[in-house]
């Protein structure tokens, strides 16, 4: 396993993070923005597991953080989708540009 340098695995997670950032910047549909956030959380999880496995192999804290992040991501997705469906009922649209009542 050590024949792959750590920086190559971190390359994958960094690239995944910035792909998620790109989706967050360009998309204006709330569901696709939520998908980008899932990609970002996944890249963070990869980082936690890799650092735990290679740098601190006698501890388990990275695994715990990964488990908690996955749990909170599930809760966050459920709440976000409830809000999106409610917004769609009142506005007939899930574009972030049309939901601007909170701005004023």
């Amino acid at each position: 396993m050590t024949d792959i340098p750590i920086s190559h695995i971190l390359f994958v997670s960094t690239a995944l993070f910035f792909i998620g950032m790109y989706g967050l910047f360009t998309r204006r549909n709330m569901i696709t923005m939520l998908m980008s956030i899932e990609l970002i959380l996944n890249s963070v999880n990869i980082n936690f597991v890799v650092f735990n496995k290679y740098l601190y192999p006698d501890k388990l804290d990275g695994i715990f953080f990964t488990i908690f992040i996955i749990t909170i991501a599930a809760a966050e997705a459920a709440v976000a989708i409830a809000i999106i469906i409610n917004l769609y009922r009142s506005h007939r649209s899930i574009d972030v540009e049309t939901a601007e009542e909170m701005k004023y």
Binding site: M1, T2, D3, I4, I6, S7, H8, L10, V12, T14, A15, F17, F18, I19, M21, Y22, G23, F25, T26, R27, N29, I31, T32, M35, S36, E38, L39, N42, N45, I46, V49, V50, N52, Y54, L55, P57, D58, L60, I63, F64, T66, I67, I70, T71, I72, A73, A74, A75, E76, A77, A78, V79, I81, A82, I83, I84, I85, N86, Y88, I94
Partner: protein, 195 residues
Amino acid sequence: MTASQIIFYILSAFILGTAILSVTTTKIFRSAIWLLFSLIGVAGLYFWLEVEFIAAVQIVVYVGGIVVLIIFSIFLTQQSGKEMVKPPMLRLIASVLAVLFGFALTYFLIYKNDFQAGDKSFDWTVNKIGTQMLATGENGYALPFEVVSILLLAAMVGCIVIAIKAPAEVSSTGTNEQQPSNIENLKEKEIVEGL
């Protein structure tokens, strides 16, 4: 090049390729399916890292839960075959530049830091994870565990409250004092309509 290296590079290309397709395709349903493949690829990466427990959790929660939830909400909110509007060219160029510069800076920092793997092998078992997760002493994670369970309960109640259909206006404001006035209003309306 060993088989392990080849598997890692194939997995990485798969994850990144499907992730890029997921954020660039114009049909929202395809975007969700590409996201599904990307998450499965991440689970494969966990298998490659020999952390099978996290890989199983990833498949169960992300692939089995979140993506299915997203697909359902797509079906509830819009026509899945419809093309999404493309972002304006200026925003596209600006976001590509921002992302490229951010990636270059971050990867430069990682490359300069030069992390070195230790010789020890990673020893985890589900038994150890469970014991430490519910331990109350030093390095125990009992408190975060309980906090997360409360958070899940709050999220569940919050989802039901947010997504429930609001009852009709008359029944929601129907207290004892207001009901007569409502009835009077209704009678007045009937009278006016009758006239």
